[in-house]
């Protein structure tokens, strides 16, 4: 068994996240469709998982004992694809094919098409349940792989999320970690205006989860929380990552309109210049 993850420093992870954000922008611009806001908000979390925390082998995406990752908020899959490409699961050239015919990269992630995608997602509220099933299967088979799920805060409005929230503590699934990308915005409007989900920690604690709250863009906090979740025994962990929708591109930040639209040429150049500064 190979621990194939390079142990990247916080600084290196920050640079990788900046590259992931650039790729997200590029993909959505090329596709002229997609969901930039929620991809950017999850970029630091997904980078930390793929480049530091998860036990994976990009050369062997079907490795039975690998950690699993599920982006339950499947519309943000550009962040997943960008992380996978940068991690070496497939050639970067595929990034230009997002949402186009004959592409590996579907509009919502397809486990049978994309190397490294552990679960087909897109219909909200299902990825967390599938993750629960994987964690349960690991326990049942005496395997020590972990399951990491990124959930959206708007997604928490789906009833099946709460079915999973109820079930995971029953089986003491401490091998399951859910990271809530709490960017406070959903398709139509702010979450608070559409259908409030707060108070989140109290709700999940009442469901018998271990909770940790962090700044979802502070790489050191992200890594520390993921490691703490790994170490915590007896209960599943919810990491509430407070994030900014559109993080990294000033004019997209905290603007509901950037949930699901692509930038035009001028906006693309502006955004690219901002993200390039991060990499300089």
């Amino acid at each position: 068994m190979i621990e194939s993850n390079p142990s990247r420093s916080i600084l290196e992870l920050q640079r990788t996240a900046a590259q992931v954000r650039k790729d997200i922008l590029l993909m959505i611009y090329e596709a002229q469709a997609g969901h930039p806001g929620g991809s950017f908000s999850a970029a630091d979390i997904v980078t930390a998982l793929y480049f530091r925390v998860m036990r994976i082998d990009p050369q062997n995406p079907g490795w039975a004992d690998r950690d699993r990752f599920i982006l339950s908020k499947g519309h943000a899959c550009p962040v997943w694809y960008a992380a996978l490409a940068n991690r070496g699961y497939f050639e970067r050239s595929h990034l230009y094919t997002l949402r186009k015919l004959n592409s590996l990269l579907q509009g919502h992630a397809d486990m049978k098409k994309t190397p490294g995608v552990d679960m087909t997602v897109g219909s909200l509220g299902q990825g967390i349940c599938a993750g629960l099933g994987m964690a349960l299967a690991a326990k049942q088979q005496g395997k020590d792989f972990r399951v990491w799920v990124v959930l959206g805060d708007g997604e928490m409005q789906e009833g099946s999320v709460w079915e999973a929230a109820m079930a995971a503590p029953k089986w003491k699934l401490d091998n399951l970690t859910v990271i809530l990308d709490k960017n406070r915005i959903q398709n139509d409007d702010f979450v608070e205006a559409t259908m409030p989900v707060d108070p989140v920690p109290e709700k999940w604690q009442a469901f018998n989860w271990h909770t940790i709250e962090i700044d979802g863009h502070d790489m050191a906090q992200i890594v520390a929380a993921l490691e703490a979740a790994r170490a915590f025994k007896g209960k599943p962990t919810l990491i509430i990552a407070n994030t900014i929708k559109g993080k990294g591109v000033s004019f997209m930040e905290n603007v509901p309109a950037w949930h699901g639209k692509a930038p035009d040429a001028q906006q693309y150049q502006l955004a690219l210049a901002e993200l390039d500064k991060e990499l300089a």
């Binding site: 049978k112 087909t120 299902q126 099946s160």
Partner: protein, 336 residues
């Protein structure tokens, strides 16, 4: 004279003309056939696990839970979570048998069944008791009269509705060996134990259980017994009906059905399912594109049923043997 019947128990053949056939022949609800068979399957294949949604007592998967507590998972009243979790489990190589009531597995959890199970074609077995009008007394909320139509419409699905105890047990063994999602439709109420142990169950292969050249009666699940009774009635009028147990709705056994169409020239389908999109539709689609012949579909019309004793509900909603017989006579009048 040789018997036209195949694979039927002697008692069944002897009783087909009995006015009270359904009281005469002992029956078993096929949900219990599953509960029996899954114990055998689990012994053969350690990757088989059973998932329940608070109806383990009803399906008697409590026997499995007792024998294999480490392979049994009760999700409570949460079909959506169970279905998506089953998909996740299947990605690791387990073979989840996700068990419950047809209504809630096929309809409440339909999105999970489509997107998390069928789209990635994961190896999940959906075990649906209380299919069709078989939960007669429970009434409309529990009568899954459209589950077969809905499941048939999902790309890559495999839909099986066995007629009796023996064939249901065989189906459980067969689907455990099949790699991919399967919807297995079972009955709440007892259905007559029709078959002998040599019933040749194979996924996708319809079985001719009565020979005949005047007309073909094609049925699935609980209406196979009714089709046999109807055929016996027709025989008394000198009409020899072929009866086909089309236990696999999808993939449809086109070869057997087309041969029957050619050789008999008239066809009646019978299903305890809404008339829209199920067995009758599947056969009609096949025939109209290949070999159109006079045809009639027996099934629940565009209506909801009601509470009542199971066989009485079948009768009131036009699904029982006398209705099949009348439909056959009507089709024969149109046969050239």
């Amino acid at each position: 004279m040789n018997s036209p019947y195949h694979y039927l128990r002697h008692e069944v053949v002897a009783a087909l003309n009995h006015p009270d056939f359904f009281q005469t022949i002992p029956g078993i609800a096929t949900r219990y056939s599953y509960a029996d068979a899954i114990l055998e399957v689990a012994e053969i294949n350690p990757r088989v696990v059973v998932l329940d949604v608070d109806v383990a007592k009803s399906l008697r998967t409590t026997d499995f839970a007792k024998k294999y507590p480490q392979r049994s998972f009760n999700f409570g009243i949460a079909e959506q979570n169970m279905m998506a979790a089953a998909a996740g489990m299947a990605t690791t190589g387990l073979i989840p048998f996700a068990s419950g009531y047809a209504m809630f597995l096929s309809l409440r959890a339909l999105d999970q069944v489509r997107n998390s199970i069928h789209y990635p074609h994961l190896n999940v077995k959906i075990i649906a008791s209380h299919s069709g009008l078989t939960p007669g007394p429970d009434g409309v909320t529990h009568q899954a009269q459209e589950d077969l139509s809905i499941m048939r419409a999902i790309a890559g699905s495999c839909v099986i509705a066995p007629a009796d105890h023996i064939s249901a047990k065989m189906a459980v063994h067969a689907i455990a060996r099949y790699d991919g999602p399967v919807y297995l439709s079972l009955t709440r109420d007892p259905v007559p134990s029709l078959y002998t142990d040599d019933f040749p169950f194979e996924i996708g292969k319809a079985v001719t259980v009565r020979d005949g050249t005047d007309i073909t009666l094609v049925a699935n699940r609980d209406l196979v017994a009714h089709a046999l009774v109807a055929a016996a009635g027709l025989a008394q009028q000198g009409i020899e009906a072929r009866v086909i147990d089309c236990h696999t709705l999808k993939p449809l056994d086109e070869e057997t059905l087309l041969r029957a169409a050619h050789e008999t020239g008239a066809i009646v389908t019978a299903e305890d399912n809404i008339i829209l999109g199920g067995l009758g539709s599947a056969v009609a689609e096949l025939l109209v594109e290949n070999y159109p012949i006079p045809m009639k579909r027996i099934g629940v019309q565009d209506t909801f049923a009601e509470s009542g004793p199971y066989q009485a509900v079948l009768d009131k909603y036009g699904l029982s043997a006398p209705h099949i017989l009348q439909a056959a006579l009507g089709v024969l009048r149109r046969k050239r």
